[in-house]
Amino acid sequence: MLVSFMYLLKLTLSYFLLFYFLPALVLPAHQEYRGTLDRWVMAMIHSHFFIILIVHLLALSKLYETLSLYGAAGIAFVLLAARNIRTGAVPLGTRQLLALLDLTDNRVELQNKLMMKLAALKDRGMDALKRSIREFARSPVAWTGIVLCFLISAAIRFRHSIEYSYYAASDPYVHLKWAKAMGGNQLYIDGVYPYGFEAVIAALNKFYLLDPYYIVRFTGPLAGVLVLLMFFYVLRRSFPRDAVFILVAMGVLTASSWLFAGFIWRQMSSLSMEYGMVFFFPGIYFLVQYFRKGHSAALLLAVECMVLTLLIHAYVAVCTGAAYIIVFLLHADQAVRPLKRLLKLSVIFLTAGMVGLMPLALGLISGIEFYESSINYVIDSVNLGAGNQRSWSQLWSYYSEIPFFLVFLLSAGVLGLLTIAKLLFRKGAFRTEGLWRRNAVFLLLGGLFFCLYQASTLGLPVFVPGDRMEFFFLAFAAIIVALALSQLFAFIRWKLVSGSVKLAATCLIVAFFFSSSSSGFALPVGDRYQYEEAAQTYLEIRSKYPHQEWTIISPIEEYPIVLGYGWHTNLWEFVKGISERTGEEIRFPTNYVFLMVEKVPLGMDREVTEADAAEPFPTIEGSRLDDYYRFREKRLVIQAKAYYWAEEYRKTHSYMKVFRDSPNMRVYLITQDGSNPYNLLN
């Protein structure tokens, strides 16, 4: 547990250093976005944009590695820094040299300068602390609640990755393999796919030489928390003085963790779609900001977010595109006036789209096909024939039984009515400041994602699988509930009373959410594709044995983990070799060979027997080699054969020892001279 925490801390620190602290040092700050959160969000967007593009470019030109990444990042850093440094009559280099020479003759001056720098740093820190305390003192209950929501959300997302060494889903193993392939300059190893997420993993790996296994293990939950932080940022910027509003939205979203386990399950694991969501909310926010204030910096950020989602995951890109269209439509008067602006926006977004789709296009042009599993999944998910057609009354009776939907629909209705009423009957600030637009944006986005999420229930064409839309819907639902409450009680002028009422209402709503559920409220549990012991064994081997001088014989899950640090042989291949004895020798040219055998095959509840081992070697249909492990009966036979062979072999060969033993599995170690390895058939 402690080691896991250490690695989590290490990854978090590395991540923020690469994607925040370093870029924030040199990125130009717009006058409007100078706050700490602003700088963080802007640094995140710009640095991801740069890193993902540069990793793609380098990998495409077969130049991706630590040195080239350092070089590219260094050049970008220096160029940006040079923009911020004012040049004078004396060149910078000479100035620095003179300063150095002066300081060598005057150490007191050096000490003074250092002390002054430290004092300035301390003052800045104290100012920031004071500001934070002042802000907290304005709404202590709300801020405490927000922090609690964050802590609970983070704990839910990180729990699995801290408790277990194995991944909670199957996809992370694939992402790990792809990220390592990218590190070896192989971009389309299994076909064309947006590799933006892999680029992030590969960049973290190459930049810090962190084992990608750990990066993948913790990046999923980290991305889940980052999405929440972005969500918080958008709320904070949109409603800067209303901490209670933020608490209500965050509270509803946090409570939904127990109600809609799907999105939490997804955010527990490293999945590219969840990572792409990090840029979804800021993209919408900055586009709205662009229309409201005309800042080109905001437009640039919105465009970058669009490109990032295209580079990371198609579904997020589709959602971002749909959201952008709604924002466009609601700001159509500003978008088309003057016409030049529309033209400019069209060109910019078309270019952005081309940049975002470039890696896919290049792959396809090269004659590589889409990643088969993924494209099949996308095609299979589309259902244009629509689902069961239900009448309005049927729909109402269905949704009225689920408290969350009921609250959402009621809130949307109330907010919609309030917005229309205010728009029609009230002049002045509400109309001129465009507050109705803000309500309308959230309402329409909430409606859109509700329809996408519930497409099959509503009888609409399904473009994206519903479970993938869950978080988008929940986030907008949370905002809409919070907005409805906020505007419903806006007539209460006394802030304390208004806040108390809203908080009480929120508590009632949350309690109502939990008042009825057919499936219970348990948090999701991660899946398991390898034993904890298997992952632990890998970690032990990697830390104790010299890299690339050991081989692991095991099922396929260990392959992407081992890649680069050691060698891997598929257990089925090995078992086939020792079972069929075709005359070919079985030798592994490394000093150490580890054989991982499951005494209780994964997914079964009994130990292997001699009878299992006596079964003929299983056959598979089709080309999916992981069928040897996916199908329990095949896995059982393979593991049984391996186990009884190993037990027999070690009785007569002293160089084979038990390396690790547990009720579930046993790991054997063969120690040999890698340049003259043993033939394991003898």
């Binding site: 290490k10 077969k62 040299l97 070896g184 300059n185 810090y208 690339q548």
Partner: protein, 539 residues
């Protein structure tokens, strides 16, 4: 421009030739060398107790200023007179002795390297390498070694420059102080770099701790060795260091072969011993030379800023040169044909080719030392043989001399390269017959050997240019040639190793050497075309 001296015609001849006038001139020159104008001489005269009445009675001039004018004329006349002189031609025996010493001095610098290679061929290990190291350990040692050269390369150049500067002036105390100051700073930097590596690794785990220990251990110990070598070099005790290397290898032999100790432990103990012994010896040598010189005049070093400023270009050169020398290895070893766990992954086949090829520098470096010594000696004396009106002739003569020397140097390098290439195969053949193992069996090693020999041959051209430029105190011009070469080395090596094959990084070394050789030759041509100016500037 000085004011023209007005000398009264009556006294023009008389005092100028008298013995008291010459005596006075001599005592003024002793006090103030050289006076800048007649007013300075007047001030000196007054400080010596001369007044108008006395000069009138002694020399028949009107006042002190008039006498100062006469003396100023005489001073200028003296300088003009001594400007043109016949050069003493050293005897043949002396010349041969000097040149032989210079050659040995140049070649002997590569002797420790030759001994290490010989030790590897015969014993399978040397002071800091071993044939059967795991790739991980070899990587650690390689990183430690490269890092050590890049860190202390600058300090060794600064020590050499400032140390020689004082030693030539017989100021051994100042030489010792300077040397130890730079060694101290070198160690501080080494420890700071080690601390940085350790702290960074604690946070980011760039390398596992087992590797990190070896990286830092070899890094610090090798740093201490390089610093000690430099000190011995300036004290002209290169043979002592060669002896220490042999002793170190012997200690490794005893610990590893006879006492069955782990090779790494044996090497670390031996390197530590050599480092400590080197430190003690350097201190003793300095004390001995100080006593011998018996010069107790100046014992205070100039201000730190002056020390830094005067040696910084040499420091840059040291850093750039060692980076240049190793950048192709870094490029080759960092090429990841498959996923690599670290930035650098040692490839013995590449290293072996370079190690053999490096031997080809022994002869050209000896020749370089001889030819530059000869050229500078000639220049030192020869410049006095030319009048101001003959500057063009003088510059052309030395430009021609340079190209002639460089031509011979290239010929020498080419011969040395061919000899080493075939010698490597011959030694490999003997070794294969004896042990059944061939060092040059790999095509990669053969490829690297061939092209590294060519690259080092070209490199020897710019090394000679560097020595000449240093002799004329123009290190920054060498740096101007080296920086583009380094960039070409890096970029070409990087691209070729990634796009063609990792061993093609050797072409980076070749391309970089070519660029630096051409640019440094251009620089040196410019210098020699204005040699008079640079001689003046260097003085």
């Amino acid at each position: 421009m000085n004011e023209p001296v007005r000398i009264p015609s009556a006294v023009l001849e008389t005092p100028y030739r008298t013995a008291p006038f010459q005596e006075l001139l001599h005592s003024i020159m002793e006090r103030q060398v050289p006076p800048q104008d007649r007013y300075e001489i007047a001030a000196v005269l007054e400080s010596m107790g001369w007044n108008d009445r006395r000069v009138r009675s002694e020399f028949g001039v009107n006042d002190v200023f008039e006498l100062a004018g006469l003396l100023w004329g005489a001073v200028q006349g003296t300088i003009e007179y001594t400007f043109y002189s016949k050069v003493e031609v050293p005897g043949a025996l002396q010349t041969i002795r000097e040149l032989t010493r210079a050659f040995i001095r140049g070649a002997i610098f590569a002797l420790p390297m030759a001994i290490s290679v010989f030790s590897m061929l015969t014993l399978k290990f040397s002071l800091w390498s071993f044939e059967n190291l795991s790739v991980e350990l070899a990587t650690s040692i390689a990183i430690g070694t490269i890092l050590s050269f890049m860190t202390v390369g600058g300090f060794t150049q600064a020590i050499a420059r400032r140390g020689f500067f004082y030693i030539i002036q017989n100021q051994f105390t100042l030489a010792r102080k300077t040397t130890f100051l730079f060694i101290r700073i070198g160690f501080i930097v080494s420890f700071a770099v080690s601390a940085f590596i350790l702290l960074t690794d604690m946070v980011f785990t760039l390398f596992p701790y087992r590797m990190l220990f070896y990286i830092v251990a070899y890094y610090i110990l090798l740093n201490s060795i390089w610093l000690a070598v430099t000190a011995m070099y300036i004290l002209k005790r290169e043979l002592t260091f060669t002896g220490l290397i042999i002793l170190g290898i012997a200690v490794v032999y005893v610990l590893y072969e006879l006492l069955d100790m782990d090779i790494i432990a044996a090497q670390l103990i031996s390197i530590s011993m050599v480092s400590i012994l080197s430190g003690i010896l350097v201190r003793s040598f300095f004390k001995y030379d100080e006593r011998k010189a018996n010069n107790r005049t100046a014992t205070k070093l100039p201000r730190m800023s002056i020390m830094i400023y005067s040696s910084m270009h040499y420091f840059y050169y040291g850093f750039l040169y060692f980076t240049f020398l190793y950048i192709d290895r870094i490029m080759a070893w960092s090429t990841n044909s498959v996923y690599m766990p670290y930035v650098i992954w040692f490839r013995g086949e590449y290293e072996l080719g370079l190690d053999f090829a490096l031997l080809m520098l022994v002869l050209p470096m000896g020749f370089c030392e001889v030819s530059v010594h000869w050229m500078m000696k000639d220049l030192e004396a020869g410049q006095k043989m030319y009048l101001g009106s003959q500057i063009g002739r003088m510059n052309n003569k030395y430009l021609f001399l340079y190209f002639r020397t460089q031509g011979m140097h290239i010929l020498n390098a080419a011969i040395s390269g061919v000899v080493i290439y075939y010698a490597a195969f011959y030694i490999d053949h003997l070794n294969a017959v004896r042990t059944g193992k061939s060092f040059l069996a790999s095509e990669v090693t053969q490829f690297v050997l061939l092209w590294a020999i060519v690259a080092y041959a070209v490199m020897s051209v710019f090394l000679m240019n560097a020595v000449i430029m240093f002799a004329l105190s123009q290190p920054y011009k060498m740096n101007r040639a080296l920086i583009p070469g380094l960039i070409v080395n890096l970029v070409a090596g990087f691209l070729l190793s990634r796009w063609v094959g990792y061993h093609y990084a050797v072409f980076g070394l070749l391309a970089g050497s070519l660029v630096t050789a051409v640019l440094s030759t251009v620089q040196i041509t410019k210098i020699l075309k204005k040699l008079d100016y640079y001689l003046y500037a260097a003085s």
